[in-house]
Symmetry: C2
Subunit: 232 residues, 2 copies
DNA sequence: CCCAGTGCTATGTGATCACAGATCACCGTT
DNA sequence: AACGGTGATCTGTGATCACATAGCACTGGG
């Protein structure tokens, strides 16, 4: 069978992902964009009804999210989204700066010129979206795409999964602290720090990129501390 | 009911862990001490037979280990212990130095004098065990206890789980590279770097501790590179 | 001798059932 | 009115069954 056969051009990959994996991806994305608030409780059967599957795939997805720290199984065996007390918030921020800083610095040494070009396009799209009235979660997604395009360029798979984990743990909290109060998906200083990150890529200077990334995160933190509610 | 009642003094907690959690802990420990080699395949039913439970708890445990990177589900849905190519080895080492370095530096600022005392005792036990002919995995366990006593003192739960994850990913490889060839559970420079770490705790000097930790890890790496087999 | 086709076996996944423990409202006693 | 016991209900866990597919030895035709 020739896959190049024009008669087969209408064929699309059908996707062989397990149900558990699809539920996991859906639920993960739902958490990442802030679909549920910290402290909120979930039940397997409630999720089962929402996804239209049986308990099994939901169980697998929930347990995996719990292993990643995106969900929490209390001693009572109840399931909830973890809360974000100040101590955890500070620790996650410190770790983000360290982990993502390393990724940026490494990417500056390895990234291709072509990838830098795509990075600039993504950032221009992000800036353009920032000027519009904040309506959708589009700026948030473009900002995320910009950051992870850099992190992927570092070519460190384990580090990348750790960073994804950090963003996942922040997801519910971002909605809670910022989504409600004015949908301030990101801060106005982000374009500047993004430009400095791109510049560091061009100059192959990892430390400049690391500093820009730290400013980017600290800018967002300042916004959260001003407008968000952090318990304790 | 008064729990201080002398009549109840013989009561012990009964333990309410789920089967899945117990299987997870067993399997985790088995991986951490190098019970299986990288690349080796596992099957649910084989593990089921070994643990004497049904498939369900094993499925949960395996999926959780897979989420943590300690196991791997291939596209074929087969389960195996991840291999350790050179690139992954180097990345894990780099991340260990960064993560554990932060933990040591933070611990130096926070650790109590009492905990420092316990640390010295643990280390003396470790050194004493090192002098004996290498028989069991006792030195390995004491070394681990020494390190994690420090990491716990940093009081950073998320960081601690990341570090545990690193050790877990290294487990199978340690057996493969060192266990067979002479049971060299740790290297002869470890006592020195350990002493320097303790000293840094007493002086509340995080950077000295960080450097000592880095030397400790690099010493072990050198041994592995000399005696172990790293594919690719 | 090589190789595509075929049937058997083993394995992970998903559905369903059964059950222990948690939660909560209700009620009777003090 | 306050408190402890009680029963119903809900939730996560574990066991069992059913099934699609990967892996593999075998076979028959070239």
């Amino acid at each position: 069978m020739n896959l190049e056969d024009p008669a087969l051009s209408g064929i699309h990959p059908v996707g062989t992902d397990t149900l558990g994996k699809r539920v996991y991806n859906e639920l993960r994305n739902f958490l990442m964009v802030g679909g549920v608030q910290p402290g909120e409780k979930l039940t397997l059967r409630q999720l089962t009804a929402a996804f239209g599957t049986s308990l099994m795939p939901v169980r697998e997805a929930v347990h995996r999210l719990a292993a990643e720290g995106a969900l929490e199984v209390l001693p009572n065996r109840a399931i909830r989204v973890p809360k974000m007390p100040r101590a955890r918030f500070d620790e996650l921020i410190q770790l983000r700066i360290m982990l993502e800083g390393l990724a940026v610095a490494t990417a500056a040494e390895k990234i291709s010129d072509k990838a830098i070009g795509r990075l600039e396009e993504t950032n221009e799209g992000f800036i353009a979206e920032m000027r519009k009235p904040p309506e959708s979660q589009k700026p948030f997604l473009l900002n995320k795409e910009f950051h992870f395009a850099i992190y992927r360029a570092a070519d460190m798979p384990v580090l990348l999964s750790m960073i994804e984990n950090m963003w996942l743990q922040f997801g519910p909290f971002l909605h809670f602290s910022m989504g409600v109060k004015g949908r301030m998906a990101t801060n106005k200083f982000a374009p500047d720090s993004h430009r400095r990150m791109i510049q560091s890529m061009k100059e192959r200077n990892g430390e400049i990129g690391r500093k820009a990334l730290e400013d980017d995160i600290r800018g967002a933190v300042e916004l959260i501390l001003r407008f968000g509610d952090i318990p304790e």
